[in-house]
């Protein structure tokens, strides 16, 4: 009788330890998702900080592009009010489209394209785009891990009121000039 009790006790203890560690793992993954979202936030703010400088620089050379410039500033200001990934992604889409349109318009102004300030901003924005892309990849990979753990058996038994996290997909700014090929 006693060996059976010991075996049953051992199994219960094992299940208890497993349940606690599985639940803790879900919490850990959820926290990692939150942390990596904070990193995206930091990198996107870096982008928002550069946009007003870009607008000011373009204004100096192409003042009659006011409509395009206003769209960029409006899109930027609209994003600053949103916080969740889905809202943010929609706002980012508008900002990327208007900023890409601004870069396209800049093609018509050789003096602007050659100005040191514009080139510096272009380089800073390129660097920021790489950081955003890396932060987004890291966030999405953590979301994937968290959602998989949340939705697959047996860890799904410990999901509780946790909801799957949202992926974050945005377009990139076309800050880098296309490669010129001449024959």
């Amino acid at each position: 009788m006693q060996p059976i009790l010991i075996a049953a006790g051992a199994i219960i203890l094992f299940l208890l330890i497993w349940a606690v560690s599985t639940s803790n793992r879900l919490t850990h993954l959820q926290n990692i998702v939150k942390e990596s979202w904070a990193d995206i936030d930091v990198q996107l703010k870096r982008r928002y900080d550069l946009i007003p400088n870009l607008v000011e620089t373009v204004k100096g050379y192409a003042a009659h592009e006011q409509a395009t410039l206003t769209k960029v500033i409006d899109a930027r200001n609209h994003i600053l009010g949103s916080s969740n990934p889905a809202e943010r992604a929609a706002g980012e889409q508008a900002l990327v489209q208007s900023t890409n349109a601004l870069f396209a318009r800049a093609e018509a102004y050789p003096d602007l394209k050659a100005s040191a300030n514009f080139l510096e901003l272009q380089s800073a924005l390129g660097d920021t785009e790489d950081r955003i892309a890396a932060a987004r990849r890291f966030y999405n990979s953590n979301v994937r891990d968290f959602n998989t753990a949340l939705q697959t058996f047996p860890s799904s038994m410990f999901a509780g009121d946790r909801k799957p996290a949202e992926f974050f997909e945005i377009d990139e700014l076309k800050v880098r000039e296309p490669v010129q090929v001449s024959f």
Binding site: T22, R25, D127, D130, A134, R137, S141
Partner: protein, 251 residues
């Protein structure tokens, strides 16, 4: 009986001499190949390796030239507190984006077995590796990329964690672990993943300013060149923003 014994002993001596001659010839040929390789790449060859003893009676491997050479890779495979460690056929110098140290590293392990009659037998095994170490001007977090083994797959099924990337084929092929997953994710970006999938799977280890690829046994000389170019290819793919971030940081 006596004649048979003498014949067997003579045979043993002849085999020993033949094996020694073959080993000497193989060593000379490898040295010649390494010499040519060193001349082509601009590296310096130390054919006899470097001293593995510190000189004094009480000095240890750590006090020796070889000990100082491998000290920065102390927490990486296959380095550790082993017996009779030695560094041979060392190639060093700058090439491409890195400062290189390529060498044969070996150590000895002993195992003791006791049979049913209580007799103990000690057997010695020499473990040999070829280490390709590139030192670059960045301070990398600890990252290990290695082929995913059977036990890793089982571990994963039970919730064991490693880093996962966008490409499922890459996740199936490699097990990636890091002390800083965010930076590791930046280093192993889509182009780097594509690159790592296009080359043979190796055991990559990174940490501090070092990137190591360690191969078991003696690596053929042409393979050394291939591995060097693989590491250089990876270094050239490190994004500019990470180069900025990692060049000034301390661990």
């Amino acid at each position: 009986m006596n004649a048979l014994f003498i014949l067997a002993a003579a045979g043993f001596v002849v085999i020993f001499i033949l094996v020694s001659i073959a080993a000497k010839k193989a060593r000379e040929q490898r040295l010649a190949e390494l010499g040519t390789f060193a001349a082509q790449t601009g590296l310096t060859l130390y054919p006899d390796g470097i001293s593995s003893s510190g000189g004094g009676w009480l000095s240890s491997f750590e006090d020796s030239e070889a000990g100082r050479l491998v000290a920065p890779y102390g927490n990486m495979h296959p380095f550790g507190a082993q017996q009779e460690r030695s560094v041979n056929m060392l190639l060093t110098g700058p090439h491409g984006p890195a400062q290189w140290a390529i060498f044969e590293y070996s150590y000895v392990t002993e195992s003791t077995t006791t049979d049913s009659q209580g007799n103990t037998q000690t057997s010695r095994t020499t473990h040999s590796f070829t280490v390709h170490a590139a030192q670059i001007s960045l301070n990398l977090p600890w990252i290990e990329i290695r082929r995913e083994g059977f036990f890793d797959k089982i571990g994963k099924a039970f919730g064991g964690q490693d880093m996962n990337f966008e490409l499922e084929a890459f996740n199936r092929r490699y097990r990636v672990q890091s002390s800083d997953p965010r930076t590791a994710s930046g280093l192993i970006h889509p182009k780097a993943i594509e690159y790592l999938m296009s080359i043979p799977d190796r055991h990559w280890q990174m940490g501090g300013s070092y990137i190591l690829i360690v191969e078991s046994d003696t690596c053929p000389v042409p393979e050394i060149g291939v591995i060097m170019s693989e590491i250089e290819g990876f270094v050239n793919l490190i994004p500019g923003y990470l180069q900025q971030d990692l060049s000034g940081r301390t661990q």
